[in-house]
């Protein structure tokens, strides 16, 4: 499990308008590029000062590649990050609140306690 890395993916994509579009249009390509180039970038540090150990599990890669917000939730990704990014990508294809309500309905089977989001 690499909840921190899932959150880092969502966080770095959500705050960058170009990355939001890139992830919407090409999730598999964005994931490959991001894991190669960004996963071990120490944010707020010089690019040469990289970490050496951060990588996704196969299940995490699948959830990102498939835009699977329910899977991300069940893997313990921070729900606020997932929601914010997915609204940015997909709300535009729906009427007012339609996307947010469908997003919730897709999770209707999930009961408390929710997956732990502690990193």
């Amino acid at each position: 499990m690499s909840k921190y890395l899932l959150d880092k993916f969502l966080y770095t994509v959500d705050r960058d308008p170009q990355l939001v579009e890139r992830y919407r249009d090409d999730p598999a390509g964005t994931l490959d590029w991001w894991e190669q180039e960004m996963a071990n970038a120490v944010l707020n540090c010089h690019p040469a000062e990289r970490s050496t150990w951060l990588r996704f599990t196969d299940e995490e890669r699948r959830a990102i590649r498939e835009h699977d917000h329910v899977g991300l939730f069940q893997l313990g990704a921070h729900p606020f990050l997932t929601l914010t990014l997915f609204i940015a990508m997909f709300e535009r294809d729906h009427g007012p609140l339609e996307y947010q309500l469908a997003y919730a309905r897709a999770m209707a089977h999930i009961q408390l306690p929710y997956p732990d989001i502690a990193t």
């Binding site: 921190y4 959150d7 880092k8 966080y11 959500d14 705050r15 308008p17 120490v42 944010l43 707020n44 917000h69 939730f73 921070h78 729900p79 606020f80 990050l81 997932t82 929601l83 914010t84 609204i87 940015a88 609140l97 947010q100 309500l101 997003y103 919730a104 309905r105 999770m107 209707a108 089977h109 999930i110 408390l112 306690p113 929710y114 732990d116 989001i117 502690a118 990193t119």
Partner: protein, 287 residues
């Protein structure tokens, strides 16, 4: 010494700006009632005639991130730029710029450290809607200097609710010991029950109206003991997965004081979440 001119606790609903400024078919049916309640709430701050605003909020993974996460942080800078691309994108919030009250920030940091709170600080802080929403609702002219205080209600592990109450009590003392002839309003925003990114989000009401009813009663009556008896880090998962933001209301109960009944209490039952507005005027605060 400074005077605490008012203590104000509020929800921070990022959709208010868009709802209140929209017209015609875009204007939601609840907008007029919402605006009327906000204007009445705004009058409670105007009446207090503040010079400075100490503002408690929580960064929503904008500048503060999991590689370096403070629990409590004070912004000490001459200027605070405000609002972020994703808040512009999702909520239509405008970019803003607020002056900072650096000498009060320095006082809060020095005396807060000495009072037992290992406060983090930032000398370049871009603030988000947890602080700008109450500026928009309570002081839209954005003409007063601020000291932002950020709390972690977002990324576990978080401080326990009692620690938020203690920080509120301490902030009240720190403002009252600030050697300046200024009137300071202490404003903090949080949430009642709230679900974000989970199955209970965006319902017809907040996810737990019974929690909201109890919470409003605790806050309005300053019932800190009653609130602390029921609210824990674990219990806050039940009313909704983002309900830890209620701890900022508990902080503000600490600012207002044990048993302090609010002078202004109002709520608005919206879809997704209940809005709640509280103002206290401390004894001796009036001109």
């Amino acid at each position: 010494m400074a005077t605490v001119a008012a203590v104000i606790a509020s929800t921070h609903h990022p959709f208010y700006y868009r709802a209140s400024t929209s017209t015609g078919a875009d204007r939601p049916p609840f907008a007029d009632e919402w605006v009327a309640k906000i204007e009445a709430f705004r009058a409670t701050l105007t009446q207090a005639d503040p010079d400075v605003l100490l503002m408690v909020g929580s960064d929503h993974f904008h500048q503060l991130w999991l590689d370096n996460m403070p629990q409590f942080l004070v912004g000490k800078a001459p200027v605070f730029d405000a609002n972020w691309y994703n808040e512009e994108r999702e909520f239509g919030l405008p970019r803003m710029r607020l002056a900072g009250q650096e000498d009060l920030a320095a006082h809060v940091l020095r005396e807060g450290l000495d009072a037992g709170f290992d406060l983090a600080f930032s000398n370049e802080l871009r603030i988000d809607h947890s602080v700008t929403c109450p500026i928009i609702t309570l002081r839209p002219q954005a003409d007063l200097p601020i000291v932002p205080v950020y709390t972690n209600i977002f990324a576990p592990p978080m401080p326990r609710p009692s620690r938020f109450v203690q920080l509120g009590r301490t902030l009240r003392q720190l403002v009252e010991s600030w050697p300046a002839d200024k009137r300071v309003a202490i404003i903090g925003t949080g949430h009642l029950s709230l679900e974000l990114g989970g199955p209970r989000q965006f319902g017809e009401h907040g996810p737990d109206p019974e929690f909201d009813r109890k919470a409003v009663t605790w806050i309005a009556n300053g019932d800190i003991d009653g609130c602390l008896a029921e609210v824990t880090l674990d219990s806050l998962h039940a009313p909704g997965n983002a309900t830890h933001g209620f701890m900022d209301f508990m902080l503000m109960m600490g600012v207002a004081g044990d048993g302090a009944k609010a002078d202004h209490v109002d709520t608005l039952d919206l879809f997704h979440t209940m809005e709640a507005y509280f103002t206290w005027y401390p004894e001796g605060a009036s001109r």
